[in-house]
Symmetry: C2
Subunit: 155 residues, 2 copies
């Protein structure tokens, strides 16, 4: 893996702040390069897997699916990654995080309209081999671009 230079970081910062409206020309102007240079860098960042995608940030609390829940699970270490991916396919699951710890190493975010939805999701997670340790409502989430990508200085 090569390092990221100032332009790469600026691209990451800008796209994380607003992936829908940030144009290549905007970034190009800020960094004094041409738009097509920015475009190629973006393509490269995508190809390298550094940019995985672009998502709308949705406040589920306001969508009618009010039960936004954090389901903390434990997976056997050797199956953790596989189970994390499978958990993503469970209907209602919107995010999965693998954590490097002994137990409670899979954190699942799931959405339901009512408690039955959540029971079913818990059952589905158990069925693929995850042990459900805890469930709590998520009250709010906030996202921030990584500030170290903001400025144009090198690493």
């Amino acid at each position: 893996m090569d390092d990221l230079d100032a332009l790469d970081k600026r691209i990451l910062y800008t796209l994380q702040r607003d992936s829908r409206h940030a144009s290549t020309s905007d970034i190009a102007d800020e960094m004094d390069v041409s738009p097509s240079t920015v475009r190629k860098r973006i393509t490269r960042l995508e190809d390298r897997g550094i940019i995985r995608g672009y998502h709308a940030d949705i406040d589920y609390q306001r969508t009618g699916y009010q039960l936004h829940t954090l389901i903390v699970c434990t997976a056997p270490i050797d199956a953790r990654e596989q189970l994390a991916r499978e958990a993503l396919d469970v209907p209602g699951v919107v995010a999965v995080r693998e954590v490097m710890t002994g137990g409670e190493n899979i954190h699942v975010s799931a959405l339901g309209a009512d408690h039955d939805d959540l029971s079913r999701i818990g059952q589905d997670l158990s069925a693929i081999g995850l042990e459900v340790a805890d469930e709590d409502l998520i009250r709010n989430e906030y996202v921030n671009p990584f500030d170290s990508f903001r400025s144009a200085d090198e690493r």
Copy 2:
């Protein structure tokens, strides 16, 4: 809060899958409405706070900032929301989640290049009034659009 109709849900689904390349015309074609209808709906979803923004999904593991860490904190209930917002301003913090539980009710995602960065972040969080309960490396994260927004049926 009014309910979301089929078009709103389809818009949310599409933008969550790919907020950068999904054009209003694409969605309009799929749903048999005009592009400007889709545009107006998107504006409305943004105004209602349902769409909070659009972010690039970055694999920090591959950026050189390899210490992507989940810092579990406890905040006094009455200060939880305020502290969550303040935590977002701590350099290195990329996401904050408020959880409805007795203790360990603030989950902070932070990024550092080395262990000194993380120590400093822990100190900053303590300084604003959060009690740090646990820290673990995040190995991986996966995001998924909410499947119930996919199909065009009403609620």
